[in-house]
Assembly symmetry: C2
Homo-oligomer: 419 residues x 2
């Protein structure tokens, strides 16, 4: 029998396509990072007969069965009852879960009812997998010798919390996770996948760590993955490769892992004690939205002006009517005037502006959809950059890439310290 | 044997968690809307042995096997070769596919190489499932009596195009899709799931159409689903139920299906020939971003001011320093001054403002995280509304709900026409 895991997601809503199976992706990533092989994923509805068949198949091809969904209090939550039946085990109410449920209900000013109390029934012999952020607990259970069963609720936030707090230590202590596969994702902006692949080509053939390219949404990524005894040992393999890549690619690498462009720009501004404001046309507030998604952004972002209509470009940003008339709203001159205008009016060190044609209407031969001007203004200079995004992109894609390109321009400038 | 479908997604990247399985969700929705039962989904890597095992299991429990992934030109694209081997059939090169590939390569100024030509090899007896938007074609194949196999590339855009142009007509003509299940999703804002369920309770027990509630991200939805011979016949069953729900729930239902809050508000503004501007603090541009996500929003949205910092609230919106000092930036008074300020300065009919505490820092006992004031100003009045979102929500969730609540306030006002 194969010492591998299988993910079994239970829920008719998955079969109806009501929800995306993000749980399977999360668990797959987690298994990979723990070095646990996993060859199959199964999705099955809230149906005991079919669930039992899926379990029978999974028992034949895996030794670690990970279930999500079907743990709640409603009648269609039947994962544990079905597993108990399949493994010929009785359910028994656990007093400690009843106490926990009662406390959770009391904290909301409610009393535990019979329906919700059903969640306290677990198969005999199973350990409790506590749910610190919701009501339904899971189990860690070895119903047969060499077969481990973990169950989680379908609610992603609960599932992830339970996975991290209890399941990962269990898998490490029980010998499932022998060593780790640890990765770092380097993120690039303003560079195509082919160019990047050429620059780092020799590294793409390395074995440990491996280096692979990914491209999505205008962003290119390099994943550096190492297999080792521990995360520390993996990092020791990864660090020099990451250093080498950063040296080769220069400023094109803007961050790594969960770092966003807005976070990186924010850190640079904070470190240099500088502030920024925005003047947005086609992005309509999207740059401000990205910047303020970062907690603590009030330390460097003051705000700005959404000048979607030319009347706002004139009235609030001081763009001259003659420039708008002669050059058009989508022009380097207007981008420059917007960036200077917002910096003047707010008093920040930097002003960023964007004006462009996001489509689907409004394009012309001279000024096609995807044409965008970004402006950047400081005390010392104002400059603009022209972008021509692919016309096949959607309105949202063009707006998103415009916002990130504008932030990237400021990032490069801050790195050069030539302000 | 069960006259149902099974979705089999082939790709090691799914097992590594590199990508979300959006294809499974799309196909699940499509099968549901065509009235084709589907009880299992399987994910398996680019491994012929395991893929064959998965096919063997699927043949036991379904009669329509739908594969995605593994159709490309690279060595790990082995879905068709594996299926051919499993069903003991030879592959044969199809001249019409070679011609198609040659034409597609020529249009990009390239010649067809040996690797890419491999995509022209299909199992003998299989029909071609053309790929109008990419290179790799799929098959429609009955390798055994009563067993249908459809294959698609993993690229979502290609898969969906091929599904819609060729697979759906095939399923309809071959008797797979008997009748349809058609749904309409009604979307509600500012009403809890329990309240809504109580209001429409008798309908929740109806059979055709069925009515079910969903709650996600502060939004509650009602899905009205009917099974009928055709979409038209289903709509005839759905329409009166939707009318009844809209009558019961009044203005709480803001839209249906893919309609967004910003679109609905935009349509109302357009119809009433009115314009709007925004003054945003905690959302940082998010309301403008939502409004301008709608193509044609320049017809009613002029722009506004992102007043994240108090200096911008004072300098650009004219909020008085004394009000900021006495009431604090997060207060009804400041929200009102922001809404009036932006309307005055832009000259729009409406001014919307938001100021609040999105967290994770910045909360206090008097002004906790989740406290938000929304302001709405017209020629005739300025009013504010206080919201207290759950503190357990993330910063992004609070910001998103704030933006939608602000738009919803304007929507209700526009419906009342008391402006």
């Amino acid at each position: 029998m194969n010492r591998s895991a299988e993910i079994i997601c239970v829920g008719t809503e998955l079969l109806l396509g009501d929800i995306l199976n993000g749980n399977a992706q999360y668990l797959a990533q987690q298994l990979a990072s723990l070095g646990i092989a996993h060859h199959y994923q199964t999705v099955v509805g809230d149906n005991p007969t079919r669930l039992k068949r899926a379990v029978a198949i999974a028992c034949e091809r895996a030794r670690l069965l990970i279930f999500t969904g079907g743990l709640g209090p409603t009648p269609d939550d039947l994962t544990l009852a079905t597993l108990a039946e399949f493994f010929d085990t009785d359910l028994a109410e656990r007093p400690e879960i009843v106490a926990d449920l009662e406390a959770k209900f009391a904290s909301r000013g409610r009393t535990l009812n019979k329906t919700s109390r059903r969640q306290a029934q677990l198969p005999k012999g199973a350990d409790i997998l506590p749910n610190p952020v919701g009501t339904a607990p899971g189990v860690i259970w070895e119903p047969r010798n060499g077969l481990s069963v973990l169950t989680f609720p379908g609610v992603p936030w609960e599932m992830k919390t339970m996975w991290e707090t209890t399941a990962v230590p269990y898998l490490q202590n029980s010998g499932w996770a022998k060593g780790v596969i640890h990765s770092r994702m380097l993120k690039f902006w303003g560079m195509g996948e082919t160019t990047l692949a050429k620059q780092v080509q020799p590294l793409l053939f390395a074995e440990n760590p491996t280096v692979a390219t990914y491209a999505l949404g205008g962003e290119v990524k390099l994943r550096v993955s190492a297999r080792a005894e521990s995360i520390e040992a993996a990092n020791a393999l990864i660090d020099p490769v990451v250093d080498e890549i950063r040296q080769i690619t220069g400023t094109a690498c803007y961050g790594q892992d969960s770092e966003t462009m807005a976070e990186v720009v924010g850190q640079l501004l904070l470190a240099q004690k500088q502030t920024v404001s925005v003047a947005e046309s086609c992005t309509g507030g999207g740059i401000g939205q990205l910047l303020t998604a970062v907690a603590g952004s009030s330390g460097y972002f003051w705000g700005g002006i959404i000048s979607y209509d030319n009347r706002v470009k004139q009235g609030l940003l001081g763009v001259e009517a003659s420039v708008l008339a002669q050059q058009g709203a989508v022009s380097a001159e207007v981008a420059a005037a917007m960036a200077t205008g917002v910096r003047d009016r707010t008093g920040t060190h930097w002003g960023i502006s964007v004006t462009g044609i996001a489509g689907p209407g409004g394009g012309s031969v001279e000024k096609p959809i995807g044409l965008v001007y970004v402006g950047l203004s400081s005390r010392h200079f104002t400059r603009t950059e022209k972008f021509l995004f692919n016309q096949s992109l959607t309105r949202e894609q063009i707006r998103q890439r415009t916002a990130l390109s504008a932030l990237n321009l400021l990032r490069i400038e801050l790195l050069g310290k030539n302000n």
